[in-house]
């Protein structure tokens, strides 16, 4: 753990309840600058839900998320949830902060999707270029009447530089959807990097990849962290990838965190082994 570095992301007591189902129960985690942290867990453990809470897709039922020292998301059981709430720490949080995902991205959180979501009708270059829109300073009038030519030029150069760095220069003008799967992933990560994030969130980056592609991706994620000075939070099923690159791991099962620690610790943890392999009743 890099406790000497500032804390990028702090999740406190996050509970996400849908109706009577507690999908994420009292989940807390921390991530420090420059770290690669993974959330793992069997199917339906609540990993993606936790991820969606952090990125602003869902408002949590209870809990708080702090990003770069700034409280960004906070909620407490309100309205109907007041009575129906099944989680813990009710009453600990009193504020209601519910930003839309684009506000969080503007603060420096960028994500990729489990089922790749590139802009289909556009080329590789355009996909990266549009993500640069976030950093614009021009308004709609100056952009329409071409008064932002310098900025436009900058956007294009930066997008090209980024495409070069991630190794997609040879397919720059191809339609994004015509790329092979591995390259589409790469492009999605490049697009997220174009928003100049401090924290990169990867939702199952190796889903659907063959072993060869997974190895390349593992190397790629490491390179990105060093080159762009981002912290990375990832959800993953591929144990090889997780054990290879992450410095710390949080394990979720049935919505609750059952373990956390370094890959070596996690591999020895009996609760984790049980969760993944299942426990026989008579054992």
């Amino acid at each position: 753990m890099r406790k000497d570095k500032p804390c990028v992301l702090k999740v406190e007591d996050v509970t996400m309840q849908f109706g009577g189902v507690v999908a994420v129960n009292n989940f807390s985690m921390e991530e420090y600058e420059g770290e690669i942290v993974a959330i793992i867990g069997p199917n339906g453990a609540g990993k993606t839900t936790a991820f969606n809470v952090i990125t602003g897709v869902y408002a949590p039922t209870n809990g708080r998320v702090t990003f770069n020292g700034e409280r960004v998301i906070e909620n407490f059981p309100r309205g109907k949830m007041k009575k129906a709430y099944l989680g813990q720490n009710a009453g600990k949080y009193t504020e209601h902060l519910e930003p839309t995902p684009d506000k969080l991205t503007a603060l420096g959180m960028a994500r990729t999707f489990q089922n790749i979501r590139l802009w289909k009708s556009m080329t590789v270059f355009e996909n990266v270029l549009i993500a640069k829109h976030l950093k614009r300073t021009s308004n709609v009038f100056s952009a329409t009447f071409g008064l932002n030519r310098l900025e436009e030029q900058m956007q294009r150069e930066e997008a090209d530089a980024l495409i070069e760095t991630v190794g997609l220069a040879d397919v720059r003008d191809e339609l994004a959807t015509s790329l092979p799967y591995g390259k589409q992933r790469r492009l999605e990560i490049a697009r997220a990097l174009a928003t100049e994030p401090k924290l990169l969130l990867l939702d199952e980056p190796a889903a659907g990849m063959n072993p060869q592609e997974t190895v390349e991706l593992t190397r790629f994620i490491g390179e990105i962290r060093d080159q762009f000075h981002v912290s990375i939070l990832l959800i993953e099923h591929h144990m090889d990838l997780v054990m290879d690159i992450s410095e710390r791991i949080y394990v979720l099962d049935f919505g609750s965190m059952i373990a956390s620690g370094t890959p070596a610790e996690i591999q020895q943890n009996e609760k984790v082994i049980d969760a993944y392999l299942g426990v026989t009743d008579d054992a």
Partner: protein, 388 residues
């Protein structure tokens, strides 16, 4: 290096398109001088006038439906607001009382008149221009108000809500209580219209009846093209392609949808003002939802997501329905005289068949998602490939 070459070639092509536009305007200007209302070819000018109105309407609808992916059907409503705003603010004071014969006109102010009192003839032109821009602004303002609740909806729901609002606007403008402003359900007339647009230099009269609407439409469409190609236009396209991804990449959905909606409605308002000046009347009952569907048809025929497609689509539509197929209604078509078949309404039958054929054989519309400039580029690329 790539970007450098690209920007140079794009600059070259933008100069070329500017030149083409100027040539087109010059031709329209010359036609305007040389075709007298008695001439058989005068229909061409009518088509150019009406076509430019519909072209702007179709392009502004395409900005919303084709580029931002917001399926809105409120266009006729915003055109109505534009037409009325333009008409109300250009009726000369001498004609007010005859126009508002059942009401006591509340607004007794005319831009062309006020400005021409100060600046002479140039003031009239400026007054008309001011009224056109005001028409757009009022339409955009209403779009902003309607957009606040409506833009939260998606796809079909948005279409139904905007359609409803357009009908509400029409009903409100026909409301008798608003008579002092809108003249109730009676029509507005006697305002500045294209048939009166001319320039007098000494003894020579320069007719501008067709040139003015074509010029306004051209300038407006160029502005929309610029917007679509800007960083905001790209953001619109990303919302169309995948809203969730766009939001995750930091694009504020509410803000960008609102920009697209108000800009689109601004130009719908301008095209409404143009329609008033071309038809020389403004009446709320003309702006039914059927008009929205006509415009939508032009957009679809031309190709959703193609500006040049919308322009081509609307000119073809207007030319076919107003000119080429006229004979089908009046007895003689292509030299065949058959009053038994070619009578009132037959034109629409043939027209529907033609539209079905076009839709069947051009699934993506005439242009698909390409622009005219892309066609040249494709040919160049092919030529280069062959040379290699």
């Amino acid at each position: 290096m790539k970007t450098l070459n690209e920007s140079r070639s794009s600059r070259k092509s933008s100069w070329l398109s500017l030149l083409l536009v100027l040539v087109f305007l010059a031709i329209v200007f010359l036609l305007d001088q040389n075709i007298k209302p008695t001439n058989k070819m005068y229909m061409l000018l009518t088509v150019l006038q009406k076509g430019s109105v519909y072209a702007l309407a179709a392009v502004s609808m395409n900005l919303l439906n084709g580029y931002t992916g917001l399926f809105s059907l409120g266009h006729a409503g915003f055109m109505l607001i534009g037409a009325y705003t333009y008409a109300i603010f250009t009726i000369p004071s001498s004609a007010r009382d005859t126009v508002y014969q059942y009401f006591d006109a509340a607004i007794r102010f005319s831009f062309p008149e006020t400005f021409s009192n100060v600046m002479g003839p140039a003031g009239t032109a400026l007054g008309v221009l001011t009224a056109v821009i005001l028409a757009g602004l009022v339409a955009a303002f209403f779009a902003y108000l309607i957009g606040l609740p409506v833009l939260r909806l998606k796809s079909d729901y948005l279409a139904i809500a905007t359609l409803g609002f357009a009908e509400i606007i029409r009903a409100v403008f026909q409301w008798q209580k608003l008579g002092p402003i809108t003249n109730g359900s009676n029509l507005l007339k006697s305002f500045a219209r294209t048939s009166k647009f001319k320039l007098e230099v000494g003894d020579t009269k320069i007719v501008l009846s067709t040139f003015v609407p074509v010029l306004i439409a051209t300038v407006s469409i160029i502005i929309i093209v610029k917007l679509v190609n800007s960083t905001y236009g790209r953001a619109f396209k990303s919302i169309r392609d995948d809203e969730v991804a766009a939001e995750a990449m930091g694009i504020n959905l509410a803000k960008h949808k609102m920009i697209s909606f108000t800009v689109s409605s601004f130009f719908a308002g301008v095209s409404g003002a143009m329609m008033a000046m071309v038809l020389s009347i403004a009446q709320a009952s003309n702006f039914k939802s059927a008009m929205t569907y006509e415009i939508l048809l032009m957009v679809v025929l031309g190709g959703i997501g193609s500006i040049s497609g919308s322009v081509i689509g609307s000119f073809l539509f207007v030319a076919a329905s107003e000119w080429w197929l006229r004979g089908l209604d009046s007895g003689t078509f292509l030299g065949i005289n058959a009053p038994g078949i070619f009578r009132n309404g037959f034109r629409l039958v043939v027209f529907s068949v033609i539209i079905m054929i076009v839709v069947l054989f051009f699934r993506q519309g005439i242009m698909g998602e390409r622009e005219i400039s892309d066609l040249f580029r494709d040919r160049k690329k092919k030529a280069k490939g062959a040379a290699k």
